[in-house]
Symmetry: C2
Subunit: 196 residues, 2 copies
DNA sequence: AGGATCAGTAAGTGAACACTCACATTATCC
DNA sequence: GGATAATGTGAGTGTTCACTTACTGATCCT
């Protein structure tokens, strides 16, 4: 019998390093040589763990999303002031882009011609939107409302808010103070959304 | 004396073709060979008009934004129902992404390491935001309001709305009906934004 | 007409980079 | 201990692609 494969452990060990590289260098400038260097292994070892660069990237997409979801779950468990939606919003307004989450997504967006990348991104967005819908629902629950804005649409709008905040951050168009106000004030407006 | 250069005319003539290519193929897959083919010229002619591929891309960023602004200006001149902001919003809800505007911007986003590309994109976003601020202001003008939401933030949120709608379109996550509702309903909510 | 530069053609060139091959070494289980 | 397959090393390789060079022909000005 041969020695048992540790490939899964190795993948788990390397993916954060790979994610960091994609976040730092986007897709094009993240060469496989650079990945190998950062992982402190030879290139062909990466190719034993994933079939190609694209697969490494797709693995990264799942990784960063799950990382974010775990973080949010942590916030929801803990007690705190405001609805859980408000807590997530507040958290995001302060930590937005800390890990490079959005950089990876933007990098992915310009690879959407590739059907696999597109599928991976679409799946991620779907989960993301569903998560936000739940937050919107639980936030509005119990509050009296006339006619509330559609929850699915509200969720998309909130995601858009985070997206534009990331872009403005990336472009240095908003200082951290304004970025935070953007998330909080506009987020509140959308969360409480009442249609006339 | 030599013959006068027609380079400027040529640039103006080719840039829409180049923009189309970047919108179709993003940045990476838009090879200079492909650009030459679509423009029906040899590669080195492109290099006589622009110093490098990056410059061609930067030129398309300005081009697509100015195209959009001209379109909106046309809407504002014409009479129609609703405030001018509502008309722009309505127009965008129906024509979003028609030209590939957002694809070019997303392509640019993943080239933001390059200082020139970043500057070009940042300039574009600034003009865009200022334009939207004006629309918000003129929309709210004359309407009675308690405390209105900050106009600059509202403008950013509206831009985010358009962005997420483009992404959802790109990913085929929203049908055209929902996309339109997203823009109209959430757009209205933000435009009318009242903070408590 | 003639000089000067612009416009166009065709064939490269050099570098970057995703991906691979051949081979040595190590660990695991019988 | 030895069979087996994992892990590691290092040097390719073939292709793609941004960008260039060398040249011919067209057009404008004095």
């Amino acid at each position: 019998m041969p020695r048992p494969s540790l490939a899964n452990d190795k993948r788990r060990e390397l993916i954060p390093v790979i994610a960091r590289a994609f976040a730092d260098l986007w897709y094009r400038r993240t060469t496989t040589a650079e990945l190998a260097k950062r992982c402190k292994v030879q290139e062909n070892i990466l190719y034993r763990l994933w079939p190609d660069k694209k697969a490494m990237f797709i693995a990264t997409i799942s990784y960063v999303y799950e990382l974010a979801e775990r973080t949010w779950a942590g916030l929801l468990d803990r007690d705190g002031s405001g609805s859980s939606a408000e807590r997530v919003l507040d958290y995001e307004s302060r930590h937005l882009g800390e890990f490079g989450h959005s950089r990876i997504i933007f990098a992915g967006l310009s690879e959407t011609d590739d059907p696999e990348v597109r599928r991976a991104l679409a799946r991620m967005y779907q989960r993301y939107q569903r998560f936000v819908v739940e937050q919107v629902a639980s936030h509005r629950d119990g509050r009296s409302h006339g006619k509330e804005a559609d929850r699915a649409l509200t969720a998309w709008a909130l995601i858009g808010l985070g997206t534009v905040a990331s872009i403005a951050l990336e472009m240095k168009l908003l200082g951290s103070r304004d970025r935070r106000r953007l998330m909080k004030e506009m987020g509140r407006l959308l969360l409480d959304g009442r249609v006339s």
